[in-house]
C-alpha cells in the first residue's frame, strides 16, 4: 500500500515536472509586480495566493468552454521566484496526460482577464501574462474635436473685430467727407499757427476727434477753430 502510494506520488511529481517547466509546451509565464502596484499595501505572495491563482485560472477555463469541468488540481504552477514570477499549465483530465492547448488557455484568460486582475488588485501592466497580448482600452474621443470648437470661437472673435474696425473706418471717412467746409476753415487758421506753439499740426487733432467714441459727440465742440 505504502509502496503504491509512493509510486503514485512520484508519478504525479514527475508528471507535474513533465507538464510544467519553463518553456514547456502550452505553458505560460506570469509576472507580478505587487510592490509597484500597491506600494505599502503590498501583500506577500504565499501558498494561499497561489491557490487563488489556480482557482481563477480554473474559473477562466470553465467560463470559456462550459462543457469542460476544470478542477483546481488541473492547474499546475512551478518555478516560483522572488520576482514574483512563475510558470503555469492546465492539464486536461478528460484526456489522460495531456495539457490543454495554448490557444484555448490564451482565449480563456483574455476573456476573463479583468476579473483575474481585480482578484489580485492589479492591472494589465502589473500582472503580466507573457505572450498573451492584452486589449488596451480605447481612448476617449468626443464626437466633435475640442480644438475645432476653440478654433471656431477665436475665429469668430477675430473676424468680428476686423469687421468692426473696417466698418468704423468707413464711417469715419464718410464723416470726414461730409464736413469739407469745417476742415477748410481749420486749415486756413492752422496755416498761421501751425508749429511754433505746440509742434502738432492741427490735422492730428482732427484725427484724435475721430478716435473718440461716437457716443461722446459733444466733445467735438472742444476743438473749435483756434
Amino acid at each position: 500500500m505504502r509502496g503504491f502510494l509512493l509510486l503514485a506520488f512520484s508519478l504525479v511529481t514527475t508528471a507535474h515536472a513533465e507538464f510544467c517547466s519553463p518553456d514547456s509546451q502550452n505553458a505560460f509565464k506570469v509576472r507580478l509586480s505587487i510592490k509597484t502596484a500597491l506600494g505599502d499595501n503590498a501583500y506577500a505572495w504565499d501558498a494561499s495566493e497561489e491557490y487563488l491563482f489556480k482557482a481563477m485560472v480554473a474559473f477562466a477555463m470553465r467560463r470559456y468552454s462550459s462543457q469542460k469541468t476544470t478542477q483546481i488540481s488541473n492547474v499546475l504552477l512551478c518555478n516560483v521566484t522572488d520576482r514574483v514570477s512563475f510558470w503555469f499549465v492546465v492539464t486536461d483530465s478528460s484526456k489522460n496526460a495531456t495539457t490543454v492547448p495554448r490557444g484555448e488557455v490564451e482565449a480563456a484568460i483574455r476573456m476573463t482577464r479583468n476579473r483575474i486582475n481585480n482578484a489580485f488588485l492589479l492591472n494589465d501592466k502589473t500582472m503580466q501574462f507573457l505572450k498573451i497580448s492584452s486589449t488596451l482600452p480605447p481612448p476617449t474621443e468626443s464626437s466633435v474635436p475640442i480644438w475645432l470648437v476653440v478654433f471656431g470661437v477665436v475665429l469668430c472673435l477675430i473676424v468680428a473685430g476686423i469687421l468692426f474696425l473696417i466698418v468704423s473706418g468707413i464711417q469715419q471717412r464718410k464723416k470726414k467727407n461730409k464736413e469739407p467746409a469745417e476742415t477748410k476753415n481749420l486749415e486756413e487758421k492752422c496755416e498761421v499757427t501751425v508749429t511754433i506753439e505746440n509742434g502738432m499740426p492741427c490735422d492730428t487733432l482732427n484725427l484724435k476727434t475721430g478716435q473718440i467714441n461716437g457716443g461722446y459727440e459733444a466733445d467735438d465742440e472742444r476743438f473749435t477753430p483756434l
Binding site: R31, S33, I34, K35, T36, T81, D82, R83, V84, S85, S133, S134, T135, L136, P138, P139, I146, W147, L148, V150, F151, V154, L155, I158, V159, G161, I162, L165, I166, G169, R173, E187, C190, E191, G199, P201, D203, T204, L207, Q211
Partner: protein, 545 residues
C-alpha cells in the same frame, strides 16, 4: 496741406513696440530704410516680404498647440493605439509621443523634400487665422498697433514670471541651472561660440530691420532716441537671461525625468530577466549589481547588453535644442509631466503666440510703411486695403508651408532667406550713415533731437567697432558656406523614428540661391538704378540750362 504722419500716443507705446518686436522668437531681419536714399529700398521690402511669408507659420503652429491644450489628457502625453488596439502605433513607440505629435499629427511630414504631398487643411486653417489676427492688429496702422503692443510686450513677461516660479519648484530644475551656470572653459576658447553669441545678439535686437526704423518713423522728432536705444537693448538682454533661467530649469526637469525613466527601464529589464525581487535594484546599487550579474550570469547578461542603454544625466542635458520644431517638442515634453499640465500648456503657447505676433507686427510694419508712404499707392487705395492685400498674398504663399514637405521649405527660408543679405544690408546701412552721410552731420541731427552732445563711445562704436564686427561675421558666414560643401537637411524617417541627414535636390539649391541673391543683389542694383537716374537728370538739366 499735407496730412501729417500718425504718431504713437505716447513714447511708452514706441518703447513697448520695440520691446515687443525685439523680444521675439529670435529671428530678425533688417530693413535698410536709410539705404533707400542710396539704393536698396526694394531690397528691404524683399527681405521683409520673405520673412513675413514664412514667419507666420510659427504662429499657426502656436495656435494649433494652444487649441489642443484644452483637452484632458493632453494629446501629446500618450501614444495613440494602433488599429486593433493591441499596442501603440509603431512610429510613436520608436520616437516619443511628443515627437510623434509634432511630426505626424501637426506637420504630417513627408520623408523627404521631394515628396510634396497635399496641403494639410488643419494647418492651413490655423495659418489663415494667424494672418487674420495680424491683419486685425495692423489694420489701422499705429493706432491699432500701438494698443496691441501693450499686450504683446507685457503678457510674455507675466507668463515668464509664472513659469519661473513653477520651474524652480520642479524636481531636477537645479540640475539644469547648475548646467547653465557652469562655464565650459574649452568652449570659451572656441571662436565659433563667440561668433554665435555675436550673431544672436545682433539678430535678436532686430537692429537692421526696417521694422525698428519704421516704428521710429512714427516718433516725434524730439524723441529721446538715445535713452530708448539703451533701454530697449538692456531690456532685450535681461529678458534673454531671464528666459534662459526659466528654460534651463525646464531642461533640467526634463533631463532628470528622462534620466530617471531610463534608469527605471534598465532596472525593470534586469529584474525581469533575472527574476530578482522587486525593489532589489535601486539607482545607487545599479552599477554594482550590473557587474555582479555579469560575473554570475555572463551569457544572459551579454544577450541583454544591447537593450540596456547607459543612462547619463549629462547626455540628456547636452541634447542641444535648436530650430523651431525642437522648441515645440522640448517644451511640450516638459509640460506633459507637470501637474495641471493643461494650464501650463495654455499659458506657454499663448505666450509664444504673443511673442510671434509682436514680431510679425514689426515685419509687416517694415513692408507696409514704404508702401503706404509711397504717393502712388496711398492715393489710389486706402490703408486697410493695402494691408489686406499684403496679408492675403503672404497667406497664399504661406500655404506652401502647410504641405507635407512644407517644414523642409520652412527650414530653407529660416536659414537662408535673410542671414547673409541681412548682414550685407546692415553693413551698407552703417557705412552709409557714418561715411557717406557723414558722422558729423548725423551727430548734429542727433544733437538737435536729443538736446545734448553725443558721447565719444557711440561715435567709436558706429565708426569702427560695428563695421569690423559685421565684416568679420560676414566673412565667417561666407567661409562656412564654402567649407560645408553641399548643403544638407534633416529629414524625419517614420520607420526609424528619428531624423536622418539628406542632401538637397538641385531645385531646392536653386531656390536657396535665388533667395540669397534676390535680397543681396537688390542693393547694388538699386544703387545702380538711382545712379543712372541721377546721371540722366543731370544731363537733362545741363542740356536745358
Amino acid at each position: 496741406m499735407e496730412k501729417s504722419r500718425p504718431l504713437w500716443d505716447n513714447p511708452l507705446q514706441f518703447v513697448f513696440a520695440c520691446i515687443s518686436y525685439a523680444v521675439g522668437l529670435g529671428n530678425v531681419w533688417r530693413f535698410p530704410y536709410l539705404c533707400q536714399m542710396y539704393g536698396g529700398g526694394v531690397a528691404s521690402v524683399v527681405v521683409s516680404f520673405f520673412l513675413s511669408m514664412y514667419y507666420n507659420v510659427i504662429n499657426a503652429w502656436a495656435f494649433w498647440y494652444l487649441f489642443h491644450s484644452f483637452q484632458n489628457p493632453l494629446p501629446w502625453a500618450a501614444c495613440p493605439l494602433n488599429s486593433n488596439h493591441t499596442g501603440y502605433i509603431e512610429e510613436c513607440e520608436k520616437a516619443s509621443s511628443t515627437q510623434y505629435f509634432w511630426y505626424r499629427k501637426t506637420l504630417n511630414i513627408s520623408p523627404s523634400i521631394e515628396e510634396n504631398g497635399s496641403i494639410q487643411w488643419e494647418q492651413a486653417m490655423c495659418l489663415i487665422l494667424a494672418w487674420l489676427t495680424v491683419y486685425l492688429c495692423i489694420l489701422r496702422g499705429t493706432e491699432s498697433t500701438g494698443k496691441v503692443v501693450y499686450l504683446t510686450a507685457s503678457l510674455p513677461y507675466l507668463v515668464l514670471i509664472i513659469y519661473l516660479i513653477k520651474a524652480l519648484t520642479l524636481h531636477g530644475a537645479v540640475n539644469g541651472l547648475v548646467y547653465m551656470f557652469t562655464p565650459k572653459l574649452e568652449q570659451l576658447a572656441n571662436p565659433k561660440a563667440w561668433i554665435n553669441a555675436a550673431t544672436q545678439i545682433f539678430f535678436s535686437l532686430g537692429l537692421g530691420f526696417g521694422s525698428l526704423i519704421a516704428f521710429a518713423s512714427y516718433n516725434e522728432p524730439n524723441n529721446n532716441c538715445e535713452k530708448h536705444a539703451i533701454i530697449v537693448s538692456l531690456i532685450n538682454s535681461t529678458t534673454s537671461v531671464f528666459a534662459s533661467i526659466v528654460t534651463f530649469s525646464i531642461y533640467g526637469f526634463k533631463a532628470t525625468f528622462n534620466y530617471e525613466n531610463c534608469l527605471n527601464k534598465a532596472m525593470l529589464l534586469l529584474t525581469n530577466a533575472f527574476d530578482l525581487e522587486e525593489g532589489f535594484l535601486t539607482a545607487d546599487n545599479l552599477n554594482h549589481m550590473k557587474e555582479q550579474l555579469m560575473a554570475t550570469h555572463p551569457n544572459e547578461y551579454v544577450e541583454l547588453l544591447p537593450q540596456i542603454k547607459n543612462c547619463s544625466l549629462e547626455a540628456e542635458l547636452d541634447t542641444a535644442v535648436q530650430g523651431t520644431g525642437l522648441a515645440f517638442i522640448v517644451y511640450s515634453e516638459a509640460i506633459k509631466n507637470m501637474e495641471v499640465s493643461q494650464l501650463y500648456s495654455v499659458l506657454y503657447f499663448f505666450m509664444l503666440l504673443m511673442l510671434g505676433i509682436g514680431s510679425m507686427l514689426g515685419n509687416t510694419a517694415a513692408i507696409l510703411t514704404p508702401l503706404t508712404d509711397s504717393k502712388f499707392l496711398s492715393t489710389h487705395l486706402p490703408k486697410e486695403v493695402i494691408s489686406g492685400i499684403v496679408c492675403f498674398i503672404n497667406c497664399i504663399v504661406g500655404l506652401t508651408f502647410t504641405m507635407e514637405a512644407g517644414n523642409y521649405w520652412f527650414d530653407i527660408f529660416n536659414d537662408y532667406a535673410a542671414t547673409l543679405s541681412l548682414l550685407l544690408i546692415v553693413l551698407v546701412e552703417i557705412i552709409a550713415v557714418c561715411y557717406v552721410y557723414g558722422l558729423r552731420r548725423f551727430e548734429k541731427d542727433l544733437h538737435l533731437m536729443i538736446g545734448h552732445k553725443l558721447s565719444w563711445y557711440w561715435k567709436i562704436m558706429w565708426a569702427f567697432a560695428s563695421p569690423l564686427l559685421i565684416i568679420s561675421l560676414f566673412i565667417f558666414y561666407i567661409t562656412d558656406y564654402i567649407l560645408t560643401g553641399t548643403l544638407q537637411y534633416q529629414a524625419w524617417d517614420a520607420t526609424q523614428g528619428h531624423l536622418v541627414t539628406k542632401d538637397y535636390p538641385s531645385y531646392a539649391l536653386a531656390v536657396i540661391g535665388l533667395l540669397v541673391a534676390s535680397s543681396t543683389m537688390c542693393i547694388p542694383l538699386g544703387a545702380l538704378a538711382i545712379f543712372i537716374k541721377r546721371r540722366l537728370k543731370r544731363e537733362h538739366r545741363s542740356t536745358v540750362a
